[in-house]
Symmetry: none
Subunit: 225 residues, 2 copies
DNA sequence: ATTTATGTTAATTCTATGTTAAAAAATATT
DNA sequence: AATATTTTTTAACATAGAATTAACATAAAT
C-alpha cells in the first residue's frame, strides 16, 4: 500500500491509474489532515509527497515525519514541479529518499518507487516481507535474487518480476492478459503468448524448482501453494 | 446481472442480444440519470460503460463510482471508440478494469467480461464470493481449484465452468441447451449430449462428491442444495 | 415389454500450451 | 559512435491434453 498526498486532481488520477495497473495499491489524499488521520490507522509502504500543498508545505510534512520514531524511516518520494522548486528543496530538505520532477512518465515513476522500496527493504529489519519461499525456491526482492536448493539462479528483469508476482500470490491463477498488464504495463500491445515463453525460460532456469509453476489450462498460470 | 450504460441504440441491441444469448442478464440504460436511479435499487455484477454519453461523460461517471465506498470496487469495462478516445482515457481515468474498443466482437466482449469478473472476485475481500461449498465439495474460483473432503481435484476448463455454474446456482435445474449456451457460448453447434459426457467425467473425478450432481430426468441437471 | 432418456466408453478431432530458433530491441562495451 | 552482448519478442512447429462424437449399455417410464 502506497499513500499519495497531492492536491492536483489530474496528477492524482494519473498516478493512481498507473500504479493500480501495475498491481500497486494506492490511497490518495488531498490534504495533509486527511493524510495524518490515515497514518494513524495504517502505515503505507511508501509515501509520494507533493511539495506544494494546501494547509501545510510538503517539506514541513516530511520534517515532522522524520522527527517521529515510527515514521523516521518511512520511504518518501517527493513530487516537485520542474526547476522552480528544486533549488529550494536542496537547502531545506530533511531527507527524502528520492525526487521526481513533474511532469514524469509512468515508467519512470514506477521504477523509482520500486527502487526506493527495494533499498528500504534492505535497510529495514522486516526480512519477512522481502523473502518468499515456495518448495525449493526462495525469492528475495531486496537482493533481486532467486535460490533453488541453495543454488543461486540468475534471472532477467521480466523473469524475476513474473516469478515474484506469482510467488507473492501463490495459489492465485493469473490469466495472460492480467500478467501483461501487471508486469509489462497497461500500454504493452504485443502477443500474450509472450508470457508463455517467459514461463518456459523460468521453468528451465529454475530446474527442479520449475515445477512450482503450474499451468491452469484455459486460464493461465499459478504457483502452487 | 450486468448493467449497460450506452446511448447508441444499435450497440445496445448488439450487446444485450449477445449477452442474453450467452445466458448473462443485462439491463440497459440510455442516460446516466436512469442508471444512477437503478444503482440505488440493485447493484450489478459489472458495468459496461460507454465513454461518450449525453448529460455526463463516462469518465466522470466512473470517477464518481470510484469515490463512493459501495461502488469503489464495482467491476467496470469501458467501451471506447477506436483510437480517438484512447489517449484521453489514459490521462484522466480513475481506473476501469478493462477497455473494449468499438467495434468489438461478441466473443471478445464475453471473454473480457468473464475475465474481469474472475479477477474482481479475487480482489474483493469477501471470500464468500469466490468460494462455494456444497456437501463435501468446495470450489474456489480464484485458485481455479476444487476440493473434495480436503483432497484437491484437477478439473479441466469446461468441467470447472460446468461445476461452478451448477454450484453457484444450487437447486436450480439447467437443461442441456441452457448449459451449452452459458458455458460453450451461443454459437456452439454441437450435440447437446456433450454435456452428459462432461457430467460423467465430473462425477467420476469428484468421487464421493460426485453425488451432489443430480440428474433431473427429462430436463437436465442440478446440484442439490 | 417396449420405448426413451441417460450412463459409459473409447476413438477421433481439435486446441492450448510447450518448445525452439531467429529477429528485434535494449544494454553494455570498446 | 560503432560493435558486441544480453534480453525480449515474435513466429513457426510439435505435442500433450481436452473436447467431441458416436456407438453401445443400462435404467427409468409408459
Amino acid at each position: 500500500m502506497i499513500y499519495l498526498l497531492e492536491d492536483d486532481i489530474s496528477i492524482q488520477k494519473f498516478v493512481s491509474y498507473a500504479l493500480v495497473n501495475s498491481g500497486i495499491e494506492v490511497k490518495v489524499f488531498d490534504t495533509p489532515s486527511e493524510f495524518y488521520k490515515a497514518m494513524n490507522e495504517e502505515m503505507p509502504e511508501l509515501l509520494l509527497l507533493d511539495i506544494m500543498l494546501p494547509e501545510e508545505d510538503g517539506i514541513s510534512i516530511l520534517n515532522k515525519l522524520r522527527e517521529r520514531e515510527e515514521t523516521k524511516k518511512l520511504p518518501v518520494i517527493m513530487l516537485t514541479a520542474k526547476g522552480t522548486e528544486y533549488d529550494r528543496i536542496i537547502g531545506l530538505d530533511a531527507g527524502a529518499d528520492d525526487y521526481v520532477a513533474k511532469p514524469f512518465s509512468v515508467m519512470e515513476l514506477i521504477s523509482r518507487i520500486k527502487a526506493v522500496i527495494r533499498r528500504s527493504e534492505m535497510t529495514g529489519t522486516k526480512k519477512s516481507e522481502s523473502e518468499y519461499t515456495v518448495g525449493d525456491v526462495t525469492l528475495c526482492t531486496v537482493k533481486h535474487m532467486v535460490k533453488v536448493k541453495g543454488e543461486e539462479i540468475r534471472l532477467t528483469y521480466k523473469e524475476f518480476e513474473l516469478l515474484s508476482l506469482l510467488m507473492k500470490n501463490k495459489e492465485k491463477v493469473f490469466d495472460r492478459d492480467e500478467l501483461l498488464v501487471k508486469i509489462w504495463g497497461y500500454d504493452f500491445d504485443g502477443e500474450n503468448r509472450t508470457v508463455d515463453v517467459h514461463i518456459r525460460t523460468l521453468r528451465s532456469k529454475l530446474k527442479e524448482g520449475g515445477s512450482i509453476i503450474e499451468t491452469v489450462r484455459g486460464v493461465g498460470y499459478k504457483v502452487k501453494g
